[in-house]
Every structure is written in C-alpha cells, then in structure tokens.
C-alpha cells in the first residue's frame, strides 16, 4: 500500500476512509467472558497508526471519533477531550509501528504507553474535568480495568499484526 507521510493520493485517501469505517465497526464489537470484556476498538487505532503513520493516522482517528459520535452518539456525552485522546492514541501506535518490523517489544511498548498516557492519564483527567469528579475517585474507578486489559491487547495486537502482514493485494 502506498501512503506517504505528507502527500496522500486518492487511493490512499479512500483506503483511509475504509479503515476509518472499519475502526468504527470494530469499536462496536467486544469479545471475552462478561467479566473481562475487551473491546476491539484498539485494533482499529493500531491499524490506522500502522498503515498511515502519525499524520494521516491521526486525521483518521479524528474523523473516526467525530463520526462515531455522529452515528452512535458518544456514551457519556460528546467532549473534544476524548477526540484528542483518540488522536494521541493513534499517534503513539504510529510512532512505534509505522513502517517498522513487528516485534514483541514494539507492541508491548506501544500498548503500555497508550494505556498509561491515553486511558489512565488523559481520559481520567477528562472525566475529572467533565463531571467534576474527584481525581482520586476517578483513578480508583478505572485502574482495575487498565491493569488487566493491556496484557490481553498486547497478545491480540501481536497476533493480528502478524496475520495482516501476510495480506498482499495486487490487481
């Protein structure tokens, strides 16, 4: 697939659009027993970063978040902070994965950094800001989930990125 850092051709643009659509679809699917439900949204974010890099991947994240709120309505209300979180997440994935060979340490570092920066720090702060929640209370509420999910995400991401590498489209 041809995707440059700054310039993007029509095919790249249309591919980005379909990846955004795929991201929105994946966001709606979750798997696992009901005690540890893991959403698939992170796969869409990682793929945007992996294939389109920080700039266009970030733009894709922006569009995906805006459209998701337009189609499904955001749970808990629309807030631009969460859009920023989505963009930062994709940029972090892109920083570790874009045009790089897939290695365990890259997947681990990217996932842990996204969990720490986006899910733990940024999103907690937005919730604190949006609902006037006490910061300690907000942390306590999220920390349990954020201690479990990254490890599942790492395995899923590694397995899936390796599977995706085998797909080659020629016309």
């Amino acid at each position: 697939m041809k995707t440059g850092i700054k310039k993007i051709d029509l095919q790249g643009l249309v591919t980005l659009a379909l990846f955004v659509a795929m991201d929105i679809v994946l966001e709606k699917i979750s798997f696992g027993p009901s005690t540890v439900k893991v959403g698939l949204g992170f796969i869409g974010s990682a793929l945007l970063g992996y294939y389109f890099g920080p700039l266009w991947g970030g733009i894709g994240a922006l569009i995906s978040d805006l459209l998701r709120s337009a189609i499904f309505g955001v749970e808990g209300g629309f807030f631009p902070g969460f859009t920023l979180s989505a963009i930062v997440g994709v940029v972090i994935y892109a920083f570790f994965l874009y045009q790089k060979p897939i290695k365990w340490w890259r997947v681990i570092a990217a996932t842990l950094l996204v969990t720490l920066v986006v899910n733990v720090l940024m999103n907690t702060y937005w919730i604190h800001l949006l609902y006037g929640l006490d910061l300690r209370a907000a942390f306590l509420q999220r920390i349990l989930k954020e201690l479990i999910t990254p490890w599942i995400q790492i395995v899923v991401l590694y397995v899936i990125l390796n599977a995706f590498q085998r797909v080659k489209i020629r016309r």
Partner: protein, 265 residues
C-alpha cells in the same frame, strides 16, 4: 451483532428537527462548556429545567431517552457513590478508615449525578433528532476554519463522507463473514481467551481484504468520473440556517446568562 443499530435518528417533526445541524452541534458544545458554571443548588435547578425543556421540545417518548442513559446507569451510580465517600468538608455523618460521608460529599455526589444525566440527555437530543449525514455535514462546516492552519479540510470531508457511507456496508460484511465462518464450524462465543483471540482473525482478515478491494474499486470509479485532487468543486448538499436556529442559540445564551447570575463566586 444484530443488536447494533446504525444511527439513532428517530423521525419526527417538532421544532428541534427543523434546526440546522450546525446550530445544534454548536449548542451541544456550548452546553458542555456552560455546565462547568453550575456550582450551587439554584444553578443546577435551572440547568436541569432548561435541559428537560429541550428534551420535552423533541416530543419524543421518554423511553428513548432512558435507553440513552440505561447502559451507563451503573457507571453513573458507581461514580456518584465513589464521590460520596471521597469528598470531605462540612458536617461529617459517618467515618470509617479513609471513607467518610459528609455534608459536601452528599451534595457533590448529587451534583455529579445531575451533570452526568444532563450531558447524556443533551447529546441524546442531538443524535436522536439529526441524521448522521447531517451531523457529518455540520461537523465538516465547523472544521472549515482549520484550513488556515493548513489542515486538509477538503480531504477530511471526503474521507468523512466515504467512511459514513461504508460503515453500514462493512457492518453487514462483518455479520456475513461471521455467519460464513460459523457455517464452517467457527465458534466465537466459547473457549478461553487465547482461543477467542484466534477466532477473531478469520473475521478480521476477510474484512480487511474486502475494505482494500472496495477502496481500489472506488478510487478507480471516482477517477473515471472526473474526480481530480485539489480541483475546484461545487456542493450539492447545502445546509440552510433558519429562524429556529436563532431561537436555539438564544435559548442557550439565556441559560448561560442565568447560570452566570445564579452561580456562587
């Protein structure tokens, strides 16, 4: 999977339906900004009153709004209860270790509950009364000033409309792929974690391949119909500002004023 509904739009013809999506998006934004102004009982009372008035103006059944709040009700209650235990100040009613229930704690947890519900209600009003295509057009219009910062707004608009068009298609595709794999014995709802991770791949890879094929075909079709990058183009779908939008913005300006007057400084 089949429970996923695309677009929460419910047709109707009350005044809110006649408003421009841009006005409604701006109003929703404004609401989230002004909700920070409320900090005492009187301001929260006015805030709730204005929100419920907006909800009432949609003339939709209360049940559809309850459906918007329902999936989050445990989160909201849990959050309020946590807030109850962690806020200190005022008269202390109960104390145990790090937990305590105080006058301010009770007040704060009620405020947070109201805030949660009001924000959800106002966003629900937006998504219930506006089609997703209208919201996307409105968002595109609101992003336009960003082109002075060299943000490729025209390309973003194109990506937005293509993505919006293909979300239902890809959802259908995902369901069809899952059914096709089930027909060959795939099982998505049982087994341990690792087994389930491996079960995702036979869904994701075909979805990925069909996205890529659609993209190649669509790009070719667009070029065949004379799409050129950066060429000057006209607009077929145009948004129109109506008198109802002034009513809408006036309503929120009034609420802002009331909140500024009633809040404690």
């Amino acid at each position: 999977m089949s429970k996923i509904i695309i677009g929460r739009y419910i047709p109707g013809n009350s005044i809110i339906y006649k408003m421009d999506p841009r006005g409604k998006i701006i109003a929703t934004f404004l609401f989230i900004v002004i909700i920070f102004l409320a900090n005492n009982w009187l301001s929260y009372l006015f805030l709730s009153f204005f929100t419920l008035l907006a909800v009432g103006a949609t003339k939709l059944k209360p049940k559809v709004f309850w459906d918007g709040v329902k999936p989050l009700i445990w989160l909201i209650l849990f959050t309020s209860v946590l807030q109850l235990f962690f806020t200190t100040g005022g008269k202390v009613y109960w104390h145990w270790g790090i937990f305590n229930i105080s006058e301010y704690g009770i007040q704060n947890s009620i405020f947070i509950f109201i805030r949660f519900v009001m924000i959800i209600l106002i966003s629900t009003v937006l998504t219930l009364t506006t089609t997703s295509l209208e919201i996307a057009d409105g968002m595109e219009w609101l992003l336009r000033p960003l082109r002075y910062l060299k943000v490729p707004v025209a390309q973003i608009a194109l990506v937005m409309s293509i993505a919006l068009r293909f979300v239902p298609t890809l959802l259908d595709q995902a369901v069809r792929i899952m059914n096709a794999q089930r027909a060959r014995g795939a099982d998505f709802n049982s087994g341990g974690l690792i087994k389930r991770i491996h079960a995702i791949i036979p869904i994701l890879i075909p979805l990925f391949i069909s996205s890529l094929t659609i993209a190649i075909d669509l790009a070719t079709a667009m070029e065949a119909r004379g799409y050129r990058e950066g060429a000057k183009r006209t607009r077929y779908r145009v948004l129109r500002w109506s008198k109802y939008d002034w009513v809408n913005l006036g309503y929120f300006a009034l609420l802002t004023l009331i909140l500024l007057l009633t809040r404690t400084y």
